[in-house]
Symmetry: C2
Subunit: 226 residues, 2 copies
Amino acid sequence: MDTTGENALVVLSGGQDSTTCLYWAIDRFGRDNVVTLTFDYGQRHRIELECATRIAEHAGVRNVRLPINTFSALGGDALTDSGIPVELGSSTSGELPNTFVPGRNLVFLTFSAAFAYQRGITQIVTGVAQTDYSGYPDCREETIRALQETLRLGMECDVVIHTPLMHLSKRQTVELARDLGGLPAMALTHTCYNGQRPPCGRCPACELRAKGFLEAGIDDPLLQSK
Amino acid sequence: MDTTGENALVVLSGGQDSTTCLYWAIDRFGRDNVVTLTFDYGQRHRIELECATRIAEHAGVRNVRLPINTFSALGGDALTDSGIPVELGSSTSGELPNTFVPGRNLVFLTFSAAFAYQRGITQIVTGVAQTDYSGYPDCREETIRALQETLRLGMECDVVIHTPLMHLSKRQTVELARDLGGLPAMALTHTCYNGQRPPCGRCPACELRAKGFLEAGIDDPLLQSK
């Protein structure tokens, strides 16, 4: 595949938000100019990786998978250590949920910038959002702006980190995906914290997703495909 | 080993600069409060890892080794890809030397901050320096300050990144090591780009090291131990 035209990179986790960002990037930069990057960081639900591959195929863009074995070695968090149960509902307690991997998004975006730097790509798109606040300080706009500045200084480049979902509610994200023709791809995404497919419907991630589709008045294609 | 007293982390590569930083940290924070972190990131010269272990043992502090398999996967740089020769003398050409791994120090420090966060450690010490300018923009003070701000925002913590060598010449770094009682440990460090022990004496790294010891009027313990 000729990759010389690529000028935009989407961090694709295989979830609803990053998939919406992929369609945003295709709309803004053109399908032929978009590459997706997926991190294999020891996430509990390996299905996310397969979802990312299928979503990229469906969208007609290239998907590159990069390994990160460091978070598992750091240990001590629920997303990479299968011995620690996910705390249900912890996001409402005011404490950081135990799915928090310190600096996870900072690492993802720094490696994304390194990958982009090597290829002359300057546009990076990530699905972080500070609405529907998840308790992750590395998803906030202020943090992303500081990181962009750090990456520009540290790599001597003009990288731009786009966060099209930053101030959208889940309802608005669903509506954006619809407007960009991204709804069919939602059937390929993974959201459930319990790793179930079809999704469990009871974990905080499933509930948040269901709320977004309900408020948008749109049937979730993932549930239609059961 | 009781690690509850640790409040300072030194990024220890096994080289001259980070070893000097280790003695700086021991002097400033106390031996019992210092832990060292060494990254196994696929560096060409595996001897650096063994050096770091021996230096920490010699200094009487704990050494933790963390793997990062991502740089090798990113490829395309001389330090992780054994098929690419190191460009000798490239640091004088004004171009970035081909030992440049984009964002390497940003990644090291972000993982260091994650490790520190999990243990309530707030003081991080790194041997980066913008004197004897190496061509690495992620070693500059401006970059480190921006990164510190990013880490504080992204992890909601009060992490401080100390760079005691930032404005020191190699001569001054040698003198600092001497003043802190760190000279004997210099016999255990690794500098040579060609991975030789005893060092080749001809590569840019060996030449820079020799210049520092010469100007300080101190015999390099590494050469004495031949």
